[in-house]
């Protein structure tokens, strides 16, 4: 379980997170909604150790991670899939996937090879493009590659930052079915999304982040009935 308490992160004088508290349960999909600039990406970056918090705590399975380095946090089983599907454009699809297993020990070579095959089973399109450089993939394929790359570290929880960003509706459906599938396989997910309608299909719990604070927390049912959220995110008047 990931539990974030009173987390604050600043970019110089700008406080992007002003004491955020939330939890993401094991085996569940937890979704964070929020407008642009609410601090969603900052929150994931801080949890993943790419940014250092100014105060507060990030506990994962009981271990305090706030202020730890990104590699250490990944080692604890918390893997980030960054926004805009940041693949290594000049490397082959295969090398991108192997890069995801970077933190695993050399002695796990056979397991890593097995996982590689598993990824190709799970994402057949990546198998077709195995030797192609990642930069030549379409947006949707790159998103699948960046998810698969994160899975190669065998994480307990995935931090997914807007996986549907800039993708066609059919591809978005595919991405969300992959999210559900991964969750069924036992991986906990903390999902940042703008597409609330799609998120409703997969998430077990919602948080709304606004101007660096948690503005709402509730189940999908509660969220769908909240007037403010309805107007702002679900497009109902």
């Amino acid at each position: 379980m990931l539990s974030i308490e009173n987390l604050s992160t600043s970019y110089g004088l700008i406080r992007a997170l002003k004491g955020v508290s939330l939890t993401a349960e094991d085996g569940k999909v937890t979704c964070i909604l929020g407008p642009n600039g609410a601090g969603k990406t900052t929150l994931l970056f801080t949890a993943a150790g790419i940014l250092k918090p100014s105060s507060g705590s990030v506990k994962f399975d009981g271990a305090e991670l706030a202020g730890s380095s990104a590699p250490r946090i990944l080692q604890q089983g918390l893997a980030l899939v960054p926004e805009n599907r940041l693949v290594f454009p000049q490397m082959s699809v295969r090398d991108n996937l192997l890069a995801g297993a970077y933190i695993r020990h050399r002695s796990e070579a056979t397991e890593i090879a097995e996982d590689l095959e598993n990824m190709f089973d799970r994402f057949p399109v990546l198998k077709e493009r195995e030797e192609q450089t990642a930069g030549t993939l379409s947006g949707g394929e790159q998103q699948m590659l960046s998810v698969a790359r994160a899975l190669m570290s065998r994480p307990k929880m995935l931090l997914l930052d807007e996986p549907s960003l800039g993708l066609a509706p059919l591809i978005v459906d595919e991405i969300f079915s992959i999210i559900r599938q991964m969750n069924n396989d036992g991986i906990s997910i903390l999902l940042v999304e703008q597409n609330a309608v799609k998120a409703l299909e997969v998430a077990d719990h919602f948080y709304l982040l606004d101007q660096g604070k948690v503005a709402f927390s509730g189940t999908p049912g509660e969220m769908a009935n909240d007037d403010v959220i309805k107007r702002a995110y679900l497009g109902e008047h």
Binding site: A48, I50, A70, P71, Q75, P82, F88, M91, A99, Y102
Partner: protein, 305 residues
């Protein structure tokens, strides 16, 4: 003959300088500090052989390590800046180093002769090779042994994990970090490694020319250092070597009759190359073409036999 051996030395030294920038470019850092490390390497190893009478090899090694140490120190502030700001910051470093050596005056009497760095007059009489009976061919051999050693080392690095990590950081820092790469360590290590290589190049340069002064360590040299790997491409170390041979061997030496027009030509070359071959001379296609060509020749050879 002397003349050609001289050019061979220059090409060797510049290849090392280019490779020191190559290591950093792999991680996406464009550094003009290489000339600063080069200067440190040349002064330190020069002082060791001239004033302390050391053998050339340990002197080169210590020069390289001191340069590497300063590169290590530069590596940390360099983490905070990227792109143009890193260029400016590293120029500042090189200028500081240059001005420090501009003011270093350490004259010592050795065997009845006054030697050592003489501030504005530069550091003359770095005569280790002549004093110890080395012929120019030996010097060429030493330089190129080191060049080959460094090239093989960097080639090997690209075949193992460490090389992939450098390139991963160069391609996307955030993606590398989220795959568990320690950004600080990789960037500082690259800076240090580049500093060591530039330091060796500096030591070899000082001893092969017997004379360095602050003019030697100008920004022009720093520009050359980064332009070799950029022109040659970052696919592998051969690109840098080819670019040095082309620029030093052809443009600078071959076209000597053109005088200062060569600098215009050099600038022009960079612009043309950036437009037509932004990925550098040696890229993936080039290497695969080369392989195909070699295979074809082998086949033909087979039929003839």
């Amino acid at each position: 003959m002397e003349y050609y051996l001289g050019i061979t030395q220059t090409i060797g030294v510049h290849t090392l300088l280019g490779l020191s920038a190559y290591v950093l470019l792999l991680t996406g850092q464009l550094s003009l500090a290489q000339v600063g490390f080069f200067a440190i390497g040349s002064y330190v190893s020069g002082i060791l052989t001239v004033i302390f009478g050391w053998h050339i090899l340990p002197a080169l090694l210590v020069g390289a390590l001191v340069a590497g140490f300063f590169a290590f120190l530069v590596g940390f502030p360099a983490l905070r800046v990227k792109g143009l700001m890193l260029v400016v910051a590293t120029i500042a470093f090189s200028e500081i180093v240059r001005l420090v050596f501009f003011n270093v005056n350490w004259r010592v009497e050795v065997n009845g002769l006054e030697v050592g760095p003489d501030s504005t007059q530069g550091f003359r009489e770095i005569r280790y090779f002549a004093a110890n009976g080395w012929e120019q061919a030996h010097v060429v051999l030493l330089i190129w042994l080191i060049v080959i050693l460094v090239m093989v080392l960097l080639w090997w690095l690209d075949k193992v994990r460490a090389g992939a990590v450098l390139r991963a950081v160069g391609e996307d820092e955030l993606a590398a970090q989220s795959s568990g790469v320690n950004l600080t360590m990789v960037k500082v290590a690259a800076m240090t490694g580049g500093g060591v290589i530039a330091g060796i190049a500096g030591g070899l340069f000082a001893h092969s020319t017997t004379y360095v002064d602050h003019h030697t360590f100008s920004i022009l040299l720093a520009t050359f250092a980064v332009s070799y790997p950029i022109l040659g491409g970052l696919k592998n170390v051969l690109g840098t070597l080819m670019a040095v041979i082309f620029i030093q061997g052809f443009i600078i030496e071959g076209l000597r009759f053109m005088g200062d027009y060569r600098n215009i030509l050099f600038g022009l070359l960079i612009i043309v190359a950036m437009n037509f071959r932004p990925q550098g001379l040696v890229d993936g296609n080039f290497t695969s073409d080369l392989r195909k060509l070699l295979r074809m020749n082998q086949k033909r050879g087979g039929i003839d036999a």
